[in-house]
């Protein structure tokens, strides 16, 4: 009888992990359902008495997919897994709260100092320094004596090419509960709400189980957690839209200021963070903020949970220090395109991220380095395309997606996206005329400068990067 780790994770399950787990049980093995390791091309991946195998199709033909000892698997060993250190190795419900309880004895000010020293910035896309939000929510108590403060977790992971939130919530939900409870303790909030998208049913089920377990451990007596399931609106990943949705309304974005840290959910001080930001907190407190700040590059400290997606041979999640180059990720880790065709482009940071090309590949992935290219890291997702990419079509899609998902509150986004879609369609169907390009350019300026939130404000980024490249290539041909 062997001890077998079988992932209970959406991708592995889609590829047959549930059936493998049942068969292993029938054969009398001890089966432990863990999270996934995030190595998509090896799923379903089994660990049998410490030896890794993947992708496993047939339990009687394991030798053909033997990967060697898990502890030496290069794709894992070469990562620096701080957020994901437990994920994949353990049954997520097998949790010992003693470390967490120790942290909750620490002085709130001391915790905020550690976060400040770590240089942690928001992992959802904006990259805002976390400690400023924490301090603001912390101070809100002293100044106004507000009766209720909230922690709101943004698990509305809608960017194409991203799945870090899903993987951690399926594989190590207690990492998120730790982050929530520590941030709640530090800021004086005793209620936390997780806003999870409806496209992640397994994450919802596993997180709900973790909440039950937390309750049984007595953890929820000091900090209440509620799980809210979204209803298929990309815009609800924008923090103020999310707050409206949590108040049971249409997810229309709010004017800022006031920022949520001052007046958020139901008008109360609210700390809104992405899942991975909060899941970075336990590692920071464990190693100390200063040590964490030494990882990474410049003002981009620590690790990012990069997600390689799209047309890529070895896609998946790789937790690595900021500063790794796009080329290292796409070529060394990813192994190039899945179709085997030449690399065409990589869209970094979701549907509002820039399309980058061969000449950009040596850029280090840090907040400032990417900003210098008019690009961003977003939530760390990289979608790779081969050379068959139709850049005009992608620019059209960027506008179309914005038109589809715009909350409709501000005119530049609501109408600009529709007009932009029409203009790019006209461009695609006929000649590249000067006046069409001017219209698109002016529209992009307008959306950037006057949209209420980043949905309209950042749609010009993929549009400009894709169209600009398409036009310069056309110029070379002519």
């Amino acid at each position: 009888m062997s001890r077998v780790l079988v992932p209970n994770e959406a991708l592995a399950n889609a590829l047959g992990a549930n059936e493998l787990a049942r068969e292993l049980q029938v054969r009398g093995h001890e089966v432990i359902r863990t999270g996934g390791f995030g190595l998509a091309w090896l799923e379903p991946m089994l660990v049998i008495d410490g030896e890794a195998y993947g992708p496993v199709q047939d339990l009687d033909a394991l030798d053909a997919v033997a990967l060697g000892p898990l502890a030496k698997l290069p794709e894992l060993v070469r990562q620096q897994r701080i957020v994901f250190d437990r994920c994949g190795h353990v049954d997520p419900m097998d949790y010992d709260p003693s470390w967490l309880l120790e942290q909750l004895e620490r002085e709130p000010r001391e915790i905020i100092e550690e976060i400040k020293a770590s240089g942690l910035r928001g992992r959802g896309g904006a990259g805002f320094p976390a400690h400023i939000k924490w301090q603001t929510v912390f101070d809100a108590v002293c100044e106004t004596g507000a009766p209720q403060k909230y922690i709101v977790v943004n698990a509305d992971e809608g960017d194409s090419g991203t799945f870090a939130d899903r993987l951690i919530m399926e594989g190590d939900p207690f990492r998120l509960i730790e982050g929530m409870m520590i941030s709640g303790h530090a800021t004086g909030a005793d209620k936390g709400i997780v806003y999870l998208r409806s496209e992640y049913p397994l994450a919802a089920e596993i997180f709900a189980n973790a909440m039950e377990k937390a309750k049984a451990l007595g953890l929820l007596e000091r900090f209440d957690i509620e799980l809210f399931i979204g209803a298929g609106a990309y815009i609800c990943g924008e923090e103020t839209s999310m707050l409206e949705s949590l108040e049971g309304k249409r997810g229309e974005v709010r004017f800022k200021p006031p920022v949520p840290a001052v007046a958020g959910l139901f008008g109360q001080p609210t700390l809104v963070h992405n899942v991975i930001t909060l899941c970075s907190v336990p590692g920071i407190l464990d190693m100390g903020g200063k040590a964490y700040a030494e990882i990474g590059t410049g003002a981009s400290t620590g690790t990012s949970t990069f997600q390689l997606a799209g047309n890529i041979k070895r896609g998946g999640l790789y937790e690595l220090p900021f500063g790794i180059s796009l080329r290292e990720l796409v070529e060394d880790w990813g192994g190039g395109t899945r179709t085997g065709r030449p690399f065409g482009a990589v869209q970094v940071g979701g549907p509002l991220g820039a399309y980058l090309f061969e000449r950009h590949l040596d850029t280090p992935l840090g907040y400032e380095d990417m900003a210098a290219l008019d690009a961003g890291i977003g939530h760390g997702g990289l979608v790779v395309f081969d050379d068959t990419i139709d850049l005009v079509q992608q620019a059209h899609y960027a506008f179309a997606f914005c038109a589809h998902e715009s909350c409709g509150k501000c005119t530049p986004c609501r109408i600009g996206s529709v007009r932009g879609k029409e203009a790019v369609a006209a461009l695609a169907s006929g000649e590249y005329t000067e006046d069409r390009l001017e219209v698109i350019d002016e529209l992009c300026d307008l959306m950037e400068q006057t949209s209420l939130c980043q949905m309209g404000g950042m749609t010009p980024i993929p549009v400009r990067s894709a169209l600009g490249e398409a036009l310069s290539r056309k110029g070379e041909v002519n």
């Binding site: 991708l11 889609a14 409806s198 549907p351």
Partner: protein, 145 residues
């Protein structure tokens, strides 16, 4: 099909939760498949909202469909990661094979074809769902099976 009383109980059970009207509508969709006018009236009544408020919420969220879906519900991811591995061609093949456009339901209610924006399985596209089942590396043959 749940009765009006059953729907009312479902909705009433959400009172007091964060985001209750949205959660109530989601539960209606989960149990009934879509939202009918009668359900809008129930939600408005239970939460003391206007009909316009509730219709506004329904129209905002993609999950809140107001027409019955087909017995087989096919959803194909339309987002970039799946585009990069052929989701546009797959979608076109499916609309041709089924004779309906994306977002439509066949006249006999046998099948609905919808888009979805990301299932979070972006290294293994094109991705799709058939009812509750998730498919990765999806093909026309598998979706039609």
């Amino acid at each position: 099909m749940p009765s009006s009383e059953a729907i009312r109980d479902l909705v009433a059970a959400c009172v007091g939760q964060v985001g209750a009207p949205v959660t109530a509508l989601r539960k209606i969709v989960d149990t009934h498949g879509h939202i009918e006018d009668e359900h809008v009236r129930i939600v408005a009544d239970v939460f003391n909202l206007s009909l316009a408020d509730v219709r506004g919420i329904v129209s905002f969220y993609a999950d809140f469909r107001t027409s019955p879906r087909g017995r087989k519900h096919i959803r194909i991811c339309q987002a970039e990661a799946c585009q990069s591995v052929g989701s546009r061609a797959l979608t076109k093949e499916m609309t041709e094979a089924l004779g309906i456009a994306l977002g439509d339901t066949s006249e006999d209610h046998a099948v609905s074809l919808d888009g979805v924006y990301c299932l979070g399985l972006c290294a293994s596209g094109p991705c799709a769902m058939v009812n509750e089942r998730i498919l990765v590396h999806a093909t026309r043959e598998e979706l039609l099976r």
